[in-house]
Amino acid sequence: MEKSWYIPYKMKITKVINEAVNVKTFRLEFVNPEDKAAFSFKAGQFGEYSIFSEGESTFCIASSPTRKDYIECTFRTAGRVTNALARCEEGDILGFRGPYGNVFPMNNWAGKNIVFVAGGIGLPPLRCVIWNVLDLGDTFGHITIVYGAKSIEELVYKDELKEWSKNPKVTLAVTVDPGGENPEWKGHIGFVPDVIRKIAPKSENTIALICGPPIMIKLSLTVLNELGFSDNNIYSTLENRMKCGIGQCGHCMVGKKYVCKDGPVFTNEEIKALPLEY
């Protein structure tokens, strides 16, 4: 029997992390060893995660391809599938198909510094790249991470943020919106674009990656451009509604481009050429 594109891998949940209000991370391991052996992916790709009888939902693979024993996904509960996923426990079996989509061209970034800009639930797609970069040691230059959320509670990967802050290769700036802090908060207070301007990463020999809510992206791009980042050195990952992941169902189309097939990774130069349908 030929394997249909829609037949998912069976994955066992081996770890559940409560990241923030309504946000969870699942660690998933392949049930069948031969599936695990055949599977590989690259930073930037995504998949269709499913719960049998509820349906499929699209998230990026939030773990790094350098960690081969598992994949992780981080999601916020919003609809039928994510609410059902949130009720799952360790040991439950999920479906996963993927990896789909294009990748961050990391091979071209050797020796370059990388700036990551993320807001809210926009960190998971970049977290995959962050760990990939860090796991590859000296391949890349200095890493700057600017991450913001509405409040301290809404920051995801809190333990990993601590770990990154201690890494000498990393400059980490975590910020919360005014009013989202508490008396013990030692990070920045303010919006992501303002924090980028304040810490002003050098644009020379540097790539920027950005993911987050549309308004944050829009204002941050202005700041990055002011700092000298050209649009073809700024990468983002788009997340339109998707059903198939393989360029057929039509849901994710932006003009004639399919986010699932032509993306989800685009340079800002490419995004500017797209109609505003994302």
């Binding site: 029997m1 030929e2 394997k3 249909s4 594109w5 829609y6 037949i7 998912p8 069976k10 066992k12 499913s50 049998f52 009888s53 509820e54 349906g55 499929e56 939902s57 916020r76 919003a78 609809g79 994510t82 040991g91 439950d92 079996i93 479906g95 549309p214 997340e239 339109n240 509604r241 059903k243 198939c244 057929q248 169902c249 039509g250 849901h251 189309m253 932006v254 003009g255 004639k256 109609p275 505003l276 349908e277 994302y278």
Partner: protein, 326 residues
């Protein structure tokens, strides 16, 4: 290539179709179901409705309204998955129109890397009826399609004096299995290539220059977002993936969807990249006449007019495209 021809009387045509069914072939053709003409399996010739354009195009032979991708069963901490097998082996689709064949031709391009669908598209035997007259709202000839001829079929039926002239290729020969003495080399007038179609296609591509035109608001004003146009269209491929079942067992389905519907693009966050009918109608018209020129090398409207007949608001996709370009 339609290289042979034969003449059948009404009675002979009926006997041939009934004979195919008798021999165990699955014959699909235009029938009336709940008052609506669509393609469905027949058990005898008299069920066929051959003098109408079907409301639903023939695409549902290959892309049904819903199809089971696989079934699943859950047991303790195990999940069992079984793929649903279906093929169009031994299937004859009769009563296609030239526009349906053009639609299948587009689907072959669109699904070029999907072996399952491609196999279905290339397996069934197609029997086409040439259109003697235009149906309400048809504009296939505007798009360079000959309503009276198709070379993308295994068998072509044209009405003639006292019956039908039937043209067929080698595959068609197998199912017709005519008496050798009755067969003649095909004498069929192939349409003269319509040179003006290239200009038409290039003209329609200029819609991309009008992407920000205010006229989109006017053409989308009547659109109810009901999706009828997509459901009856021979080239609309958009679909949804849905699960049915309970915690023990169920199935994952693939089912028709429509870009005109508000939920089609809506994110879980509530953000909608195409927030109103203006953007949705524009996407539909651009997709048919512009985008697939780049992605598949041809426009994906075949001018069958089904969407115009089905639209509760009487929107005419072709006239609207021309209206934008004026």
């Amino acid at each position: 290539m339609l290289n042979k021809q034969i003449h059948y009387s009404n009675q002979q045509l009926q006997s041939w179709v009934d004979g195919l069914i008798y021999k165990g072939k699955t014959v699909i053709g235009p029938v009336k179901k709940n008052g609506v003409t669509c393609f469905s399996e027949i058990k005898n010739f008299n069920e066929l409705i051959l003098n109408e354009r079907t409301v639903y195009s023939a695409k549902e032979v290959v892309l049904p309204k819903y199809d089971i991708l696989f079934k699943f069963a859950k047991e303790k901490d195990k999940v069992f998955i079984s793929k649903n097998e279906n093929s169009l082996n031994n299937v004859i689709v009769i009563g296609l129109r030239p526009c349906d064949n053009e639609g299948f031709d587009y689907l072959r391009l669109f699904f070029k890397s999907d072996p399952d669908i491609l196999q279905k598209l290339n397996t069934f035997i197609s029997v086409t009826i040439a259109c003697e007259k235009k149906f309400d709202g048809c504009f296939c000839e505007e798009l360079g399609i000959d309503k009276n001829y198709s070379n993308k079929t295994d068998v072509l039926i044209k009405t003639s004096e006292n019956g039908y002239d039937i043209y067929f290729n080698d595959r068609g020969n197998e199912i017709l299995s005519p008496q050798a003495s009755d067969v003649k080399p095909a004498e069929i007038k192939k349409p003269v290539p319509n040179v003006s179609i290239d200009n038409k296609v290039a003209y329609l591509k200029k819609l991309s220059e009008q992407y920000n035109s205010e006229k989109w608001k006017i053409v989308s004003m009547g659109c109810l977002g009901c999706g009828s146009c997509a459901f009856v269209c021979p080239t609309c491929t958009c679909f949804d993936v849905q699960d049915e079942g309970n915690t023990q067992n169920g199935q994952r389905l693939i089912c028709w969807d429509a870009c005109g519907m508000g939920l089609f693009t809506k994110h879980a966050s509530g953000h909608n990249p195409r927030p109103s009918q203006v953007e949705r109608r524009r996407h539909r018209i651009m997709h048919k006449f512009v985008y697939t020129q780049d992605t598949e090398g041809k426009i994906s409207c075949v001018g069958c007019g089904r969407c115009i007949a089905a639209c509760p608001a009487h929107l005419n996709i072709y006239n609207q495209a021309l209206q934008i370009l004026q």
